[in-house]
């Protein structure tokens, strides 16, 4: 490969670059990062807590912590890895405060899709509900890894960096989590008329 092609170009809209600007004092650039990641973060917390208002509080808390600790941002690892580290800490503090988990069920709004007919929609809704119920039954650690890899589309190597371990236990955990989820989902399906 031609080495010139891989010149040190800086993508000014990349997460890392934006966060470096926030670190250096352009705090208004955090708004771009907020718009980019708020929904993902919200869904991450929603899967962990099952509570809408706590999830919103937690997202707000994450961005508050980003401002508070902005000067500690090194830019060596991916911004999302750093952000999810903060998010996990915020969640741990939240758990300490709550000490009990609220079930996911009933916390979500029904998905509305006008393109499919009523019967299909009902079937889809039952499916979504069952899947969320199954997800809720997974232990927190497995749920977290699954949410990061599937919903947040994080690479295994980034999850490994986030959790401070090597890649191979992450892959094993993902495999086991999906396997457990499939089993729980199957059981729940068997339990419904």
């Amino acid at each position: 490969m031609d080495p010139l092609e891989k010149g040190p170009t800086v993508d000014e809209t990349s997460d890392n670059h934006l966060m470096e600007e926030v670190r250096d004092g352009k705090v208004e650039r955090l708004a771009v990062l907020f718009e980019r990641h708020q929904i993902m973060l919200y869904n991450f917390f929603l899967c962990l807590t099952g509570n809408k208002s706590s999830s919103e509080d937690l997202v707000q808390d994450v961005f508050f912590r980003i401002l508070k600790y902005r000067k500690t941002y090194q830019g060596q690892s991916k911004f999302t890895v750093w952000m999810y580290q903060i998010a996990r800490n915020a969640h741990v503090d939240h758990l300490r405060k709550q000490k009990q988990e609220v079930p996911l069920e009933g916390q979500f709004e029904e998905a509305q899709n006008p393109d499919i007919d009523v019967v299909e929609r009902m079937v889809a809704e039952v499916d979504v509900k069952l899947l969320r119920k199954a997800l809720d039954k997974l232990p927190l650690k497995k749920r977290e890894i699954l949410v990061l890899s599937r919903f947040q589309e994080m690479k295994y190597k980034d999850i490994a960096e986030l959790l401070g371990c090597s890649i191979s236990p992450i892959k094993t955990s993902v495999h086991r989590a999906v396997k457990d989820l499939a089993r729980i989902y199957g059981e729940l399906q068997g339990g419904t008329p």
């Binding site: 599937r150 396997k179 499939a182």
Partner: protein, 272 residues
């Protein structure tokens, strides 16, 4: 490739991160092994289902709260920057006029000292203007403390909210918003320590009618004996007569902690 090796590849297989060689090997094994094939099919099915799970949307309040926080933070930074750059300008200016030789430096300091004393004497005749400036500066610091306090008080973590209460106690003349936020914290915060800190902070502002009324009304809303005791002490200390009725009402609660009941009785005796 055996079953174990094949299954090790499943996590990569799900995210589509398998090189051609491994893919060929996995597929060869799958063709011959119904158990592995069955497992991969079940994993892929649930993996696909997860992918189409609709994403939830947060309420618009989240965005509003974020931008309010960002604004408050920027304002705080701006004020700090103004102060810092003023300080740097002064020190640069002083450096330019500072003589090199120590003898002259000494002479200059004597002159400055003398002119300082003289200036001070002269300024005493112009006091109102100086006072006005100082008042404006105080107001500015006051406003900043208020801004920081309210921002912290709305945070999710109790330690941040405690910091908010701490900041609010530095405000010399709080406005209505800050007082109301403190009262709301006292009445609704989930954390006992934060509520207790709010009682202490409100003690500093007991001269405000809004605070006195809020404290009296809060008594009926508190469930923690610690906060109840702190509130009773405060109301007795500031000799708030309207608390008599609230204390009598509190004592009608049969589940009231015995120590709280005792203190409420004492308080009634002191206030009546």
């Amino acid at each position: 490739m055996n079953c174990e090796k094949t299954r090790e590849k499943f996590a990569d297989y799900l995210v589509g991160d398998v090189d051609e060689k491994s893919l060929a090997e996995v597929q060869t094994h799958l063709a011959a092994c119904p158990a592995c094939r069955g497992e991969l099919e079940s994993l892929s099915a649930i993996w696909t289902k997860l992918g189409v799970l609709p994403r939830e949307q947060p309420s618009s309040a989240l965005r509003q709260r974020f931008y309010a926080m960002l604004e408050a933070y920027k304002e705080g930074m701006e004020k700090e920057r103004t102060r810092a750059s003023f300080g740097q300008a002064v020190s640069r200016w002083v450096k330019r006029f500072m003589p090199r030789r120590p003898v002259y430096q000494f002479a200059l300091s004597i002159i400055l000292l003398a002119s300082g004393l003289g200036g001070g004497y002269w300024m005493s005749s112009n006091r109102p203007a100086v006072k006005r400036e100082i008042t404006a500066l105080k107001q500015e610091v006051n406003d900043m403390h208020g801004l920081v306090a309210v921002t912290f008080l709305q945070k999710a973590s109790p330690s941040d909210r405690l910091m908010g209460v701490n900041w609010s106690s530095r405000i010399a003349e709080p406005d209505e918003k800050i007082l109301q936020t403190l009262l709301d914290t006292l009445n609704h915060d989930l954390n006992v320590n934060v509520r207790l800190a709010a009682v202490d902070a409100l003690y500093l502002f007991y001269n405000y009618p809004q605070v006195r009324e809020g404290l009296v009304n809060s008594l009926a809303q508190q469930t923690s004996p610690h906060v109840q005791l702190a509130l009773i002490d405060l109301l007795v200390e500031i000799r708030e007569r309207r608390a008599v009725e609230a204390l009598e009402e509190l004592m009608q609660n049969k589940k009231l902690h015995s120590r709280v009941r005792q203190r409420a009785e004492m308080g009634l005796a002191q206030l009546s």
